[in-house]
């Protein structure tokens, strides 16, 4: 029983990190109709960013996470501005292939810079572990989960309670409508993409003390982010958050019954099924959102 409790707790905390990664992708996905296949690689940017800053102690670590987040957001901003913006109007699948290729480029760039796999940093927090009723949670895991939750709440506050959030949601509801009320759609897109990438990078920074980083991790995290967003649905941010927690729990508890690689295979196969059987709810809605409104398809919006 205590094993199950132990796994559920770690799964829950891991799931909160997935939620944080997921809402970054969710924002980009629903607001801009861009499918960012490089999302997981922005988590990687956060991980390697913190790693290369070699923070010693708690406050340097927090500083490094913030720096990595800003770095990730800046890269995201530039990617949107220089690479994706012009392609949004063209339609087709150019952004799909561009972001996929971008991910590969980032992965192999880190492969060259950090050929050593599974690098990590020691526990940066001023405490060691929490133990309660037979469950032990290491400090970095606890902190990563809690900080992720705080950030998720902060983002939802931003999206649902602030003027900026209303503007972001407006762009997601109707691109034409946003233009008709004078919203600078292009700027909103750039900032949203930067925000999404920044959130991914923060998650990477928080993840680093728990999960050693290798370049190949980017793809896995991209897929997990998509799993979270697809299962969570396009309706609200909370669906994504719930799906993140669910994925964390399923992964942790699944490890009880199936060995590593086979369990991941099972997750991917299930995800494939989800994509197939949810066309009415999610996929169709997402489809209609991915295409820019008709009258704008020929214009370089973004």
């Amino acid at each position: 029983m205590s094993t199950v409790l132990q796994l559920a707790s770690t799964g829950l905390l891991q799931g909160l990190i997935y939620s944080l990664i997921g809402i970054g992708l969710y924002l980009v996905f629903t607001v801009m109709r861009v499918v960012n296949f490089a999302h997981g690689y922005f988590v990687l940017i956060g991980m390697y960013g913190v790693l290369s800053l070699e923070p010693k102690g708690f406050f340097p670590f927090l500083g490094a996470v913030v720096a990595a987040a800003l770095g990730g957001a800046l890269v995201g901003y530039l990617v949107q501005r220089l690479l994706l913006e012009s392609g949004l109007a063209k339609g087709g699948h150019s952004q799909l292939v561009i972001t996929l290729s971008l991910g590969i480029a980032i992965q192999y760039l880190f492969q060259v810079l950090h050929p050593e796999p599974f690098e990590t940093i020691p526990n940066p927090y001023p405490f060691e572990a929490f133990t309660s009723s037979g469950v032990t949670i290491s400090a970095p895991r606890m902190a990563a989960g809690v900080l992720s939750l705080v950030l998720v709440l902060a983002v939802s506050f931003l999206v649902y309670r602030t003027r900026i959030g209303t503007i972001i949601r407006g762009c997601s509801e109707s691109l034409n409508g946003a233009i008709h009320v004078g919203i600078n759609v292009r700027r909103v897109y750039r900032l949203t993409f930067a925000l999404g990438c920044g959130l991914a990078a923060v998650a990477g920074g928080l993840l680093l003390p728990i999960q050693p980083v290798s370049p190949a991790l980017g793809l896995e995290l991209t897929i997990k982010a998509f799993i979270v967003v697809v299962i969570g649905g396009a309706g609200s941010l909370w669906g994504t958050v719930a799906a993140g927690v669910l994925l964390g729990l399923a992964e942790a508890l699944g490890s009880l019954y199936a060995p590593g690689t086979f369990a991941t295979a099972l997750v991917y196969a299930l995800f494939f099924l989800v994509i197939l059987i949810r066309p009415q709810g999610l996929v169709v809605r997402a489809t209609s959102r991915i295409k820019p409104p008709k009258s704008l398809t020929k214009v370089g919006v973004g």
């Binding site: 209303t166 109707s174 009320v181």
Partner: protein
């Protein structure tokens, strides 16, 4: 003073040119209508003026300054506001959020509150439904909300794209009365309509668009008796629609 001045406007949609060398002037305080059949290029003209479609023009100026090269949202911020044909509401957001987004370009919260009160006075129905999602409104209410949202942007000129489209006759009459009131309060209006009778009743001057070119223009009372209108429009307009020959 001229509010909107268009000279030699050419608009492309995709690869084809849908408007050719259009000239059009709207003076301050006027209510001008633009009529034409389905596919004549009315919506393309609006989208061209707003900058949503690729255009070329000798002159395209609003309140004395050129709009060429200005982004669509900046045109809106200058006071050129369109109430679009399909309304383009924020369906998943409440009526009030929709209206507040209308004022977002101004960025002034107290002005937005004042504007909101005005809109609710103009459309009491919207006040009743302020917390309802825009996607659940009826056709007439959606129209009202789109107009209200446009007014929230403090327009110098309001362009209505087919405000009568898809509405019951009674609702159309009430919407048209509202447009007249908006114009009386001093907002310049360009009314783009297929429904010639309604439009001519409201506007002082009219332009007739046919196959992407201006086929006629003039004061509405003169134009209504003209050969052009008899030939193409008024005959069939009596049955509600317009068939261009």
């Amino acid at each position: 003073m001229t509010t909107l001045e268009i000279e030699g406007l050419t608009v492309r949609r995709g690869r084809s040119e849908v408007l050719h060398q259009v000239d059009l002037v709207v003076r301050e305080g006027e209510c001008v209508c633009l009529v034409g059949s389905n596919g004549a290029g009315k919506t393309s003209l609006i989208e061209g003026v707003l900058g949503l479609l690729p255009t070329r023009a000798k002159t395209l100026s609003f309140l004395g300054t050129s709009l060429l090269g200005v982004r669509p949202w900046d045109r809106v911020r200058r006071g050129l506001v369109v109430v679009p044909q399909n309304r383009d509401l924020f369906a998943g957001m409440t009526v009030e959020e929709n209206l507040r987004l209308g004022a977002v370009a101004a960025g002034d919260r107290t002005a937005a509150d004042a504007g909101l009160a005005e809109i609710y006075e103009l459309f009491p129905r919207l006040a009743e439904r302020s917390e309802q999602l825009a996607g659940t409104l009826s056709g007439g209410e959606r129209s009202m909300l789109a107009i209200g949202r446009g007014l929230m942007s403090r327009p110098r000129m309001l362009v209505f794209d087919e405000p009568s489209l898809g509405l019951a006759p009674l609702v159309v009459t009430s919407i048209m009365r509202t447009i007249a009131r908006i114009n009386e309060r001093g907002t310049t209006v360009l009314l783009v309509e297929q429904n010639v009778h309604q439009a001519f009743a409201l506007a002082s001057r009219a332009y007739v668009l046919e196959n992407g070119v201006i086929a006629g223009e003039g004061p509405t009372d003169e134009l209504a008796d003209s050969e052009l209108m008899r030939r193409g429009y008024l005959g069939s307009a009596a049955t509600g629609g317009v068939v261009a020959t």
